[in-house]
Amino acid sequence: MLNLLPPEIKQRQRTKSLFYSLTSIYVIILVLLGLGVAGLTTWKFVLQTEISSKQSRVDQLSSQRQGKKEVIAQAAFIEDRMKVAKQFQESRQWETMLNTVAEATPVDVELTKLALTTAESTKTLTLSVAGTTNNRRSIVLFRDKLATIENLSTVAIQSITEGPDRQFIFSLEATYKDAKKS
């Protein structure tokens, strides 16, 4: 169909139509913005309702907790002791230390004294052994055997004296390597 309207009128009509379209778009944008505000406000409201219900659950749990104060105190005490158990318990196997010395003692040596002592300040554990034998070589063998014990260091003969009936009285001393552990 031919449009016989003058070009100015045609142009004005086109401009008008474009203006209406743009206005509609603007209105839609404004409506969407308004809907966005409404949506966000609703979301905020829903979240706040959720928060207040969760807060009351927390309060309810707290009051339940208050009601179990005595049980909690008992459990806290037990837990406190469990945490420090290792700190206040013996970690060394003293009987094993005695066994290793016994196993290292030559058959012709008789011990007269065996002492395992911890130094107060350094916590160093020292082994002191005294004994008798009628074989001087056994004293050296005893020292050398003690030196093979993994945890022992600086094993040294402190004294050898000859007693009556060719009995040799000796003393040995050694330090434990892991002595500072506990």
Binding site: V71, A73, Q74, W94, A115
Partner: protein
């Protein structure tokens, strides 16, 4: 389009829309987003709190259902590491231990008023010593039993001297006491199992004196036999 840009109403409408969008963006959207985000953060934080408190309360409820076990564990914990030195209880515990290895004649020395602080002052140390005639095997058994005694202790020295028939042995050690530092309970799920496992690994050789359970009291003449 060219004619539209010459249209005053177009510019007016555009400016109004832009203005409204800007105002909404700055004064409404921005604070609303901030509030929503803050609410989401609070909600998530509360979720965490609820989850941890519910788990805590589940543990507490489980503990409440076993008051006797909890009481027994509390007593064992208190014996293992008492809040105050209790040297007189340590004497009884050591006496019971010695009787169990047939060393009733051995001497126990626990000074009643000589407790000292540890280096970090976290605990109090009560020194003790056991002296007696015993065989090498008995000495080793005694050392093992001391390690599993229900009063935590550390041995500081062992001296064995050869006697005429049997060796003279002195064992020196330290027992500890410490006030409870912890007032809150973590609510760990396996608490009861772990506590039972730990405290059942110790041996008790005596019962703690209890006036409700033992003793006969009341004398006409307390100076009489």
């Amino acid at each position: 389009m060219k004619h539209l840009t010459h249209n005053l109403y177009f510019w007016l409408a555009s400016l109004v829309v832009l203005g409204i969008a800007l105002i909404l963006g700055i004064f409404v959207y921005s604070p609303l987003f901030a509030q929503v985000n803050e609410s989401k953060r609070q909600s998530a934080e509360l979720d965490k709190q609820i989850a941890s408190q519910e788990q805590f309360m589940t543990t507490i409820q489980a503990l409440s259902r076993e008051p006797e076990t909890l009481q027994a564990l509390n007593e064992q914990a208190s014996l293992a590491l008492p809040s105050v030195p209790q040297p007189e209880i340590l004497q009884l515990q050591l006496e019971g231990l010695l009787k169990s290895v047939e060393l009733g004649n051995a001497t126990i020395d626990v000074p009643l008023s000589a407790a000292t602080q540890t280096k970090d002052s976290a605990a109090t140390v009560t020194r003790f010593s056991i002296t007696g005639s015993m065989s090498f095997a008995q000495t080793k058994t005694l050392l093992i039993k001391l390690r599993t005694l229900n009063r935590w202790n550390k041995i500081s020295g062992v001296t064995i001297s050869k006697g005429e028939n049997i060796s003279q042995v002195t064992i020196q050690g330290e027992a500890f006491s410490r006030p409870a530092n912890q007032t809150t309970f973590s609510g760990g799920r396996d608490f009861l199992t772990q506590a039972t496992k730990l405290f059942s690994s110790y041996d008790s050789y005596t019962t703690i004196p209890d006036i409700k359970k033992e003793g006969t009291f009341g004398k006409d003449n307390p100076f009489g036999p």
